[in-house]
């Protein structure tokens, strides 16, 4: 039975949905760190990117509310028609598939590079893939329930690493503020908007399983706020502890937390960062896989996404091996990613909403009953009839 079936028992609560959205946005960025284009002003770029993503959250919530059912891809098909709708659907599902492959590769590379350098990368990717397939075959509500637990662990680890690292923080690392002008701020904000804020487009299909009493925009907004606060805290922590040196590391948060220790016996706190990536990355991969499976199901008129989990995950696993040639390309992708992502994150959803609203307005106009013209009998005809 599909999670979009209103008769299903397993509805996802608003809180679980917020946590899923937050984990989708946080996961890899909390480990690799956000763009370092603006260096010590990256925290400012995050706030600007958050302000820019709020209208997009509204756009996604409006698409979900275009027609009853809160079926994101279904509403796109209804709004744009069968041909254009399927083209848009194909673009969005391919985007989800590609993003899922990219992040699967990043997670695998993290574990391979830092923890298991002698283990072949394919083993790590297969282990993650198997777990994701099994989880999604047990339905989306399992991912939602896991998210509620995982977000607590993630936030706790971010907070504890910040508190323990207070002794190593130098608040002068925040200065000078806006030293290099607004051009790095603009570029940094655009990059943070594209990666990871704009990826909230992949969270649209999740809302089909949301409890009907819960509202969409507040849920999306709260999830994004949790993500922004966590990323802001992690970024400022990295900056205060590492300073300008943060820009030279591949996995900034990992290097930052590795400097933290309590005396001589409590060390290696960077394992918390590994937890963060595994937990957040797992949910993120599940969300992208669900978005892909749901898109394929809607595109080909299938009832349910569950039988597509294994085939789509194998495709994602395969693409993850060819999406990047090496780790250098992972970080070079910052240069062109905004231009690659903006059509899928902004242009397509906005176009769908505009077309959907116009068609809806046209339908309402056609359904309006015709005005009846009432003839009022004249005084002469009334007098002629007489008593």
């Amino acid at each position: 039975m599909s999670d979009h079936d209103h008769r299903t028992e397993h509805k996802i609560t608003a809180r679980q949905m917020e946590d899923m959205v937050a984990l989708t946005l946080i996961s890899s960025t909390v480990v690799t760190g956000s763009s370092d284009i603006a260096e010590q002003d990256t925290w400012f770029c995050m706030l600007v990117a958050f302000a820019l993503v709020i209208p997009m959250l509204w756009v996604h919530s409006q698409i979900l509310e275009l027609y009853p059912g809160r079926d994101y891809y279904g509403n796109i098909l209804r709004a744009c028609g069968p041909v254009a709708g399927k083209a848009v659907l194909a673009a969005l599902l391919l985007y989800s598939l590609l993003l899922g492959s990219m992040y699967l590769r990043v997670f695998g590379e993290f574990i391979h590079t830092l923890n298991m350098p002698e283990t072949p990368l394919i083993v790590i990717l297969c282990a993650i893939a198997a777990t994701v397939i099994y989880t999604l075959k047990n339905r989306l509500y399992v991912v939602a329930r896991l998210s509620k637990f995982m977000i607590l662990v993630l936030i706790f680890s971010i907070l504890i690493s910040g508190i323990l690292g207070i002794g190593k923080m130098d608040f002068n690392n925040l200065k000078p503020v806006l030293q290099r002008g607004f051009e790095p701020i603009y570029r940094g904000s655009l990059l943070i908007f594209a990666l990871p804020m704009g990826e909230v487009v992949a969270c649209g299909p999740l809302f089909g399983g949301l409890d009907r009493k819960s509202k969409i925009f507040p849920t999306l907004l709260k999830g994004t706020v949790i993500a922004v606060l966590a990323l802001l805290f992690a970024n400022v922590r990295n900056l205060l502890i590492l300073g300008r040196a943060a820009t030279i590391f591949t996995f900034v948060s990992y290097e930052c937390v590795s400097t933290i220790s309590i005396g001589e016996f409590l060390t290696r706190f960077e394992v918390l960062i590994g937890f963060n990536l595994l937990l957040g990355g797992f949910v993120k991969t599940c969300v992208f896989l669900f978005s892909t499976c749901e898109g394929v199901a809607k595109l080909f008129g299938m009832d349910d996404y569950e039988p597509l989990a294994a085939p789509c995950m194998l495709l994602m696993l395969t693409i993850s091996q060819i999406v990047y040639a090496n780790m250098e390309e992972v970080f070079n992708c910052e240069e062109y990613l905004p231009y690659a992502s903006l059509p899928f994150q902004v242009a397509l959803p906005v176009a769908v909403l505009i077309v959907g609203k116009i068609r809806l307005a046209g339908k309402k106009k056609r359904r309006k009953p015709k005005k009846q013209i009432c003839t009022v009998p004249s005084a002469e005809s009334g007098a002629a009839q007489g008593p």
Binding site: I122, V296, F300, L308, P311, L315, T318, I322, A340
Partner: protein, 68 residues
């Protein structure tokens, strides 16, 4: 070595998944997509392991798209 590991994983996933799909009559309509996906995954992985130079998505995008 990589291909052996992938083939082992692939075999387990395909066997478990296809068995379920074929057992339940309602799921047989998913068979064609599943076969397409499995074939594509297998072929591409064989190509990667045979040393074929497959251009990465990232490399191609870096050449085609403007830089920030």
């Amino acid at each position: 070595m990589t291909l052996v590991i992938f083939l082992t994983f692939f075999t387990v996933v395909v066997w478990v998944d296809l068995r379920r799909v074929l057992q339940e009559k309602a799921k047989k309509k998913y068979l064609w997509f599943a076969l397409f996906a499995y074939t594509a995954a297998l072929v591409v992985n064989i190509m990667i392991d045979s040393g074929m130079d497959i251009p990465s998505f990232s490399g191609a995008a870096e050449q085609l798209l403007p830089k920030l």
